[in-house]
Amino acid sequence: MAGKTLYDKLWESHLVRQNDDGSALLYIDRHLLHEVTSPQAFEGLRLAGREPWRIDANLATPDHNVPTTSVERRGGIAAIADEVSRIQVQTLDDNCARYGILQFGMHDARQGIVHVIGPEQGATLPGMTVVCGDSHTSTHGAFGALAHGIGTSEVEHVLATQCLIAQKMKNLQVRVEGELAPGVTAKDIALAVIGTIGTAGGTGYALEFAGSAIRALSMEGRMTLCNMAIEAGARVGLIAVDTKTIEYVKGRLFAPRGAQWELAVANWRQLHSDPDAVFDKVVELRAGDIKPQVSWGTSPEMVVAVDARVPDPAVESDPTKRDSIERALKYMGLAANQAITDIRLDRIFIGSCTNSRIEDLRAAAAVAKGRKVAASVKQALVVPGSGPVKAQAEQEGLDKIFIEAGFEWREPGCSMCLAMNADRLEAGEHCASTSNRNFEGRQGAGGRTHLVSPAMAAAAAVCGHFVDVRELLGREEVA
């Protein structure tokens, strides 16, 4: 019999019940909540007269709509200027208080983007099932956890039953072998993978990233990669547990200790696909071929290397694809065959659950150091992913580097990733963004998003247009 994939193992260890019709009941170890997708779930629970099954499996934080300026933050929930945002943040607060769910509220030093705080506090552990009413829950798969986004009805279902009705997915392995060139990051791998398999390439699959280039990534890099599995259509991204995973988890607030730690580690060491496991689909990329990536269109698969050109719809034979390219070029205000390095930027956004961790900020600061944001750039934002990331960055003096270069240094939250608060693009503006989605209007109605790595975003900020970050950095700096 063939061995098991990591996904198979996680599925089996959480299977409460397998029904004859192919559906199954899966036990959920960790449920993360935020203010946007939970209010209707709590309301449903109340209307049905139900209580949460296991309070201590839940952890909540407001992130999508919290203001990121320290002035607006200081006044607390009552001072959130936007009325609807305020109601939503207040509703989460009320629901957590009512049910006794632990919340890192707006003023908690541990508040941040839900996908940053889980791993940061050890609330995400290897081998867990982790769900959240947010598609980027795939991020937590970097720890060898089975993690994916759910809808609001499912949020209610998990609250009430600690289970999810699930169908088993197929197994997809994306192998990235070899060494990344200096200056090329996990974000570039993610974009290159999506560019290769497309935004629906992973639909129906649990996507495991494997290969020497993945093993070489830091935990931050692995989170960046798994975060974007959903942009390739895969609800689940996964990476095997290794010593790096275990070292990262050790000592975190909710991580097991003492004898339980030893027991847990012995269990976690099994969390990898068996050598003879069979995947339904395997895709291979060579790390050495990947260059810094820039998305040019309105879907994350519309991406090319920084030294390339915007595609020409005239050479596309598939009519649906040709139509999509034409539509995207029109929306983005770009011409066919235009060089990527000719795209000028109005705003820069460094942040989001993809790239707002300490390593991301260090990479951006290394480029910004001693340089100035170009005069043509209207705004350059750096939004740390959480309170602890912000504190760490300030301790390292990264905030000063950014501020001296002309960036704004903000309070943690989703911010301009989806523009539910005041941070947003104006129509027609181009933004170099370290977030994960470049959909029409994502960062503000009519806004034009280009997805890049933190170092590439910082390089675009100081040049005013896209540039291969490797041209800015000396060899030793990019290493």
Binding site: S13, D56, Q162, I165, A200, M420, F439
Partner: protein, 224 residues
């Protein structure tokens, strides 16, 4: 959950691939804490010429005459025809809420994003997968004849064209059953409460760090 058995309705063709949930319901409308009120802002950025904000009177906003749902012949449509990877992106259930409230009961496309597909069933909306060729044919027929209607039968898993042509579609047995009966999934799961508790006990014995002082997140521990 709302039951779905059989439906006959007018077809509106949305000829775009990769329609994402940000497009279906833009984020400024997600701030509501209700399940309703999203219909008037379905496809907001395509449907109106100005920028929509929550709380505005949508009936006074300028419509985009080029957008398919604004055309006279598609008024009252309840079957949405779309291209591949419909509903990709954000997991927001507000997307099926908006589609349902607008009046759609059936979606037909060659493929959907997983989370969106799943969310539809929870809201009495039936997402049907047909082959590229079949979807192409429906686009052609819908464009060619005004008032083009399809009949969808969930029990028999068929889509019947006005010319009598029949397409069969697949749907997994559990989702079909729940939708046909309009079942409350939480109630169904809670009926297996003993099994969940038994699993929990085994799970706790095998992975004690996921419970109690380990993986449980509580205030005392959080404040430690």
């Amino acid at each position: 959950m709302k039951a779905f058995v059989r439906h006959q309705g007018l077809v509106a063709p949305l000829d775009r691939a990769n329609v994402d949930t940000d497009q279906i319901i833009p984020k400024q409308f997600l701030k509501s804490i209700q399940r309703t009120g999203f219909g008037p802002n379905l496809f907001d950025e395509w449907r109106y010429l100005d920028v929509g904000e929550p709380g505005r009177d949508n009936s006074k906003r300028p419509l985009n005459p080029d957008f398919v749902l604004n055309q006279a012949r598609y008024q009252g449509a309840s079957v949405l025809l779309a291209r591949e990877n419909f509903g990709c992106g954000s997991s927001r259930e507000h997307a099926p809420w908006a589609l349902e409230e607008y009046g759609f009961r059936v979606l037909i496309a060659p493929s959907y994003a997983d989370i969106f597909y799943n969310n539809c069933f929870k809201n009495g909306l039936l997402p049907i997968v047909l082959s590229d060729g079949e979807v192409d044919e429906l686009f052609r027929q819908a464009a060619a004849s005004e008032g083009y209607r399809l009949t969808v039968d969930l029990a028999g898993q068929t889509v019947v064209r006005p010319d009598g042509g029949v397409y069969r579609f697949e749907v997994d047995a559990f989702r079909k059953h729940c939708l046909l009966e309009g079942l409350d999934e939480i109630g169904l799961t809670l009926a297996h409460g003993d099994q969940i508790r038994a699993f929990e006990a085994r799970h706790r014995a095998a992975h004690p760090w996921l419970f109690g002082a380990g993986g449980s997140v509580t205030d005392e521990r959080g404040m430690a």
